[in-house]
């Protein structure tokens, strides 16, 4: 795969109730990304956006955003999954040779609609929706229970992940203010309100408002734009079957296949020693452990034994991950941006020293049905 570089990015701060209009936020993100790279609107060749009709409360939610997102008279298209999938489409457009600069943006404002109710519309309308047993929180509860029973992982191990991520979020100035909890303990996590046993409130990613954008360019152009581009060495994506009964909920096969595809493209043979930092999109705390095992960072069931703190052996989510704030349709994109910050040394207080290779992931669907993984490398 030819080299494609990430040459600019911008992320609006995460708010639980932003004092912004939708279009202003999108404009700030796209303008910010262009200013960071020092480019003009005329240089943009293609624009890919990522929004969702049910999250925005409008049909074709992405149609009026074309001008503010930089897509005026540009060859543009729209993806309706996670922001990380929009980056995939931008990557494909650049790899085809037709375009020299791709702007990708995604995000939504969760303060405008009830997020968990809107997720109900993903369920099968003929069988699961009328029964209303399966939604994003209960299916996370199923997976957490299956994982804990199979490998003997305790609920305290999973709560430690939530504690670590919320502490990391306190060092990230752009994370959600309500998720910045530097003095959190395992007991606080287990005592916060039960959503769907054993998932508690502080274990689930809190939906919020934000928009993020980034720029992609092929190798020759990327080196002209900036002297610190971050190369996308490999990408993999895969989708599991839909019904929970058809899947092995104690693991995540789609992340495993996505990882295999990405590692093969990047030439990585031993992930736990070659990867320096991982930014994984975890919609619930236990998913971070499951993903770490599926990606080869630990053996099955031993995910809790990885030292994943910022100064540990393999830091996972030094920016706080999705537990530090989850703007729907933008979280995967923000994970990629955080990984880029680690590789260019711009991560500030939560910088992992000497990071050269990173992975970033995005997901969509109940229990992470469709996963996408990027392997990134510094210049």
């Amino acid at each position: 795969m030819q080299k494609v570089g990430i040459v600019g990015y911008y992320q609006v701060k995460l708010y639980s109730d932003a004092n912004y209009g939708r279009y202003e936020m999108i404009f700030e993100a796209s303008r910010g990304a262009l200013d960071k790279a020092g480019l003009k609107k005329k240089d943009i060749s293609t624009v890919i956006s990522c929004t969702n009709d049910y999250y925005d409360g409008r049909t074709i939610s992405n149609c009026f955003t074309v001008e503010v997102g930089g897509g005026y008279m540009a060859d543009e298209s729209k993806v309706e999954m996670d922001g990380a999938h929009a980056v995939l489409y931008g990557l494909m457009r650049v790899l085809s040779g037709n375009h020299n600069l791709a702007l990708v943006w995604g995000g939504s404002m969760a303060s405008c609609y009830p997020y968990h109710s809107a997720r109900l519309y993903e369920t099968d309308p003929t069988w699961e929706r009328p029964l209303a047993y399966v939604n994003d929180i209960t299916s996370a509860g199923f997976q957490m229970r299956a994982y804990m029973e199979k490998y003997g992982v305790t609920v305290e191990d999973i709560a430690k992940v939530a504690v670590k991520n919320k502490k990391n979020a306190a060092k990230n100035p752009l994370a959600l203010k309500e998720a910045q909890l530097p003095n959190l303990t395992v007991k606080d996590v287990l005592d916060s309100g039960i959503y769907s046993d054993p998932v508690t409130e502080l274990m689930a990613a809190p939906p919020c408002d934000s928009v993020a954008a980034l720029l992609l360019a092929p190798e020759k152009q990327a080196l002209k734009i900036t002297d610190r581009p971050v190369w996308i060495k490999g990408v993999g994506y895969s989708q599991e079957p839909y019904y929970l009964g058809d899947r092995d909920l104690s693991g995540c096969k789609s992340m495993n296949l996505a990882g295999k595809m990405a590692y093969a493209g990047a030439g990585i043979k031993d992930p736990s020693s070659e990867i320096d930092v991982a930014e994984l999109f975890e919609a619930c705390a236990h998913e971070e452990l499951i993903f770490a095992e599926e990606l080869g960072f630990a053996k099955k069931g031993k995910g809790a034994e990885i030292n994943s703190a910022i100064n540990g052996d393999l830091p996972i989510n030094p920016s706080g991950g999705a537990l530090g704030g989850h703007p729907p349709c933008g979280t995967g994109l923000i994970r990629i941006i955080e990984a880029v910050k680690q590789l260019t040394g711009e991560a500030g207080q939560y910088q992992v020293k000497g990071a050269k290779k990173a992975v970033a992931s995005g997901q969509i669907g109940m229990c992470a049905q469709n996963n996408i993984l990027y392997v990134l490398e510094a210049n």
Partner: protein, 415 residues
């Protein structure tokens, strides 16, 4: 960078106003079976990746491609979802092209799926809520609700098309009879297409003009129906396509450009498209796609065109804006028979969107039919040999045009 992409096959499901015999996933698998029937050496296991799209607001199901994973054969395979409103089918086809052209390791054959089952939901609510957000803003700024209920139709395609029709008819001085003649040609062509919705082989101009107005100057007899249906295309590399079918169709140019919001504008701020029939987006799309495909003289080089025209004035408008005819001459060309089935440049011989409109799928059915005409497998195959064809799509609130230029010769010069 990049590689040549070819279309090996295309398939459709039967379109009807209410397909109450299948659920959404079953409708899609019907179209996939038809597509694989046209390429007998391909099995479902040979597909490396999928692209899927529809307009989710019409059925009340968010991201339904998750639900229909097994019906598409996408279990444990890569899948991407692309939705752009009315042009979803065209964008899915273009995204299928880019997935193959990018050359990700192990991804050579891609199935692009676009579908819509509008009878499951309430189409008028879905269309009205396109502009709902912007209109609620106007309400807060003082406009009373009765005025707003009229503006709601401005968000839908019919609102935008009616304005286009007025300016176009003013420029070219055509009458409603010319529009009715286009409708009659479309519906008679649809009678020979097996999957089309409104098949009327004996329609006359008087019958079309005898219906009441939907929105002046368009009448009920002229507008497209609301259908349920699905369409599937198979994209692959040049080498594999030669094994899969006799005449592979090479995708040489793609583009999807929008100008600005039409009519309403975001936050109720109006639109800079002062003359709605000017269509800067279409002109730019055709520039980009023809340059990639190496087409310098579209009128002479293109043998067949499928333009996306849910309303008859648009069939005349796009043939001009996409470079096929000179400005203002499309009605004369149509009357002279150049766009007929036997004519020099046949247009919409499958009946077009005017006869079948499953919103998510219809913008893909245009390049699919244009590709089948090159392969010689279309159900209303034109008598002349087709070497180069185009298929376009149009989105309402934004005047977004998706364009795909195909030919039976690969175009490698410009890379």
């Amino acid at each position: 960078m990049g590689r040549q992409v070819a279309i090996a096959s295309a398939g459709f499901s039967e379109h009807a106003s209410k397909r109450s015999d299948v659920s959404m996933p079953e409708l899609v698998s019907e179209a996939i079976e038809d597509c694989l029937k046209n390429a007998p050496s391909v099995e479902l296991g040979d597909i490396d990746a999928f692209v899927n799209g529809n307009m989710p607001a019409f059925e009340g199901s968010n991201i339904p491609e998750l639900w229909m994973t097994d019906w598409m054969g996408a279990r444990n395979k890569p899948l991407l979802r692309v939705t752009t409103g009315g042009t979803t089918g065209g964008s899915v086809a273009i995204s299928g092209y880019y997935t193959v052209a990018a050359g990700l390791p192990g991804v050579d054959t891609v199935l692009a799926v676009a579908f819509e089952q509008q009878s499951q939901g309430d189409t008028s609510v879905g269309l009205a809520s396109v502009a709902y957000g912007e209109i609620s803003i106007l309400n807060t700024l003082g406009i009373p609700y009765e005025r707003i209920s009229r503006l709601l139709s401005a968000g839908a395609a019919i609102g935008v098309a009616a304005y286009q029709a007025t300016t176009y008819m003013n420029k070219t001085r055509i009458s409603e009879e010319d529009l009715a003649r286009v409708v009659v040609q479309n519906r008679r062509n649809a009678a020979k297409t097996w999957w089309a919705h409104l098949k009327m082989p004996n329609l006359t101009i008087e019958e079309v003009l005898d219906t009441p107005y939907v929105q002046y100057p368009l009448r009920y007899g002229m507008v497209c129906p609301a259908s349920d249906g699905a369409c599937v295309m198979l994209f692959t590399t040049e080498e594999k396509a030669k094994e899969m079918c006799d005449i592979p169709v090479y995708v040489n140019g793609v583009a999807s450009v929008a100008n600005e919001s039409a009519v309403l504008g975001y936050d109720g701020s109006g639109s800079a498209q002062i003359d709605p029939s000017m269509q800067l987006g279409a002109i730019r799309s055709s520039e980009l796609a023809y340059k990639q495909a190496g087409i310098s003289f579209p009128r002479k080089e293109i043998d067949y065109a499928e333009v996306y025209a849910p309303f008859p004035n648009q069939q005349l408008l796009w043939t001009e804006k996409l470079g096929l005819f000179e400005e203002g001459t499309a009605p004369a060309m149509h009357e002279a028979g150049i766009t007929d089935f036997n004519g020099e440049l046949p247009v919409n011989c499958s009946g077009g969107v005017n006869s079948t409109n499953a919103i998510g799928a219809s913008a893909m059915e245009r390049p699919a039919e244009a590709a089948l005409q090159i392969m010689g497998k279309a159900s209303n195959q034109v008598p002349k040999t087709v070497h180069t064809s185009i298929g376009s799509g149009w989105g309402g609130s934004l005047n977004l045009i998706t364009l795909m230029a195909m030919s039976d010769q690969p175009q490698r010069k410009w890379r």
